[in-house]
Amino acid sequence: MEQDISTAPVVPDSTQHHPTGLYLKIWGYLFLLSTLSYMVDYFHIQGIMRPTLIVIFMLLKAGLIVSIFMHMAWERLSLIYAILVPPLVLIVLVGIMSIESDYVFWTRAIFQGGEG
């Protein structure tokens, strides 16, 4: 730690050298996951399975893009946390707005006869 502070090289410590096959493999997975999520619609999957499958495929795709294509898996933990933790507050926004939309829906249904 001490010599880390005193010498403090300003050069970036890692260039991203990874085998080409890794990118091709991830590319293949992304194609597969996109096909699967399209299939959810194509085969008219309904009920609770529909949002569940859509969200699972979406999160897997997002994870692969961020971690491998955007090299997040090999970044320093300081950067990873600085980028990936702040968006978590959006959960609060989504929570508040879903309560609000429920209120707006019933206001329209009860007082405006379903208009608006």
Partner: protein, 230 residues
């Protein structure tokens, strides 16, 4: 025994990672000095962009769940008739594959950039830009088709008037990002081809442009799931 050793090894790695974080933030210098400054700045820009797109998607969620009229069926709205058969969402599926392919070629471009392979990097970046332009072209086609069918930001023939507002806002802002990305890629690719980065031996600009491009693909993953499939 070996299991316990592996566990303690993992524990040591975890504590080392935590020490690194503490060191980065308390070293009385720039926190992200280990990262190329341009890359860190691009990540912060993308973080802010994440919030912008999240606000759009949250607004869409709010509008959709507060709409009293039925939401138009996206599978039918975005269907194309090919060979006399309507295929649901086919144009959106093709757009998704085009954008994913562009992400793949971009990742390969970054890869060859770090191997200092000037020609392959430039070629792959131009391919990425071509995929991006194709995507924007298909989006323009989609907009034209929907506007022709009477979709407006304030109404449409099929149901909830909020549909048009969400559609034009979200896909329009994403399309703007793709268009900017194509321009950025063309600029960086021509600099690669000219040999600008060979003089310094530093191909970080390719990776930074790549980050932006992958982000555009990432946003599309969420739009595809929430707007088109949901």
């Amino acid at each position: 025994m070996s299991h316990m050793m592996m566990e303690s090894e993992e524990h040591r790695e975890a504590t080392q990672a935590m020490r690194d974080i503490a060191g980065d933030w308390s070293a009385d210098q720039e926190v992200f000095r280990h990262t190329h400054w341009g890359k860190a700045m691009m990540w912060f820009f993308l973080l802010s962009d994440t919030f912008i797109f999240s606000c759009f998607l949250t607004a869409y969620m709010t509008m959709r769940s507060s709409a009293t009229l039925p939401w138009p069926n996206t599978a039918e709205v975005f269907a194309l008739t090919i060979g006399g058969q309507p295929i649901p969402l086919i144009l959106i599926a093709i757009m998704t594959f085009v954008l994913i392919s562009s992400s793949g070629t971009m990742a390969m471009a970054v890869n060859f950039g770090y191997r200092l392979d000037r020609r392959k990097t430039a070629a792959l970046m131009f391919t990425t830009a071509a995929f991006g332009a194709a995507f924007v072209g298909m989006q323009a086609f989609e907009w034209t088709k929907l506007i022709g069918e009477g979709v407006r930001p304030w109404g449409n023939p099929w149901g909830a008037p909020q549909f048009g507002a969400s559609f034009f806002m979200i896909t329009g802002f994403h399309g703007l990002h793709v268009s900017c990305g194509v321009i950025l890629l063309l600029i960086v690719a021509s600099k690669v081809l000219r040999g600008d980065y060979d003089r310094t031996g530093d191909y970080s600009a390719v990776e930074i442009a790549g980050l932006y491009w992958h982000f555009v693909d990432l946003v599309w993953v969420f739009i595809f799931a929430f707007f088109y499939l949901w």
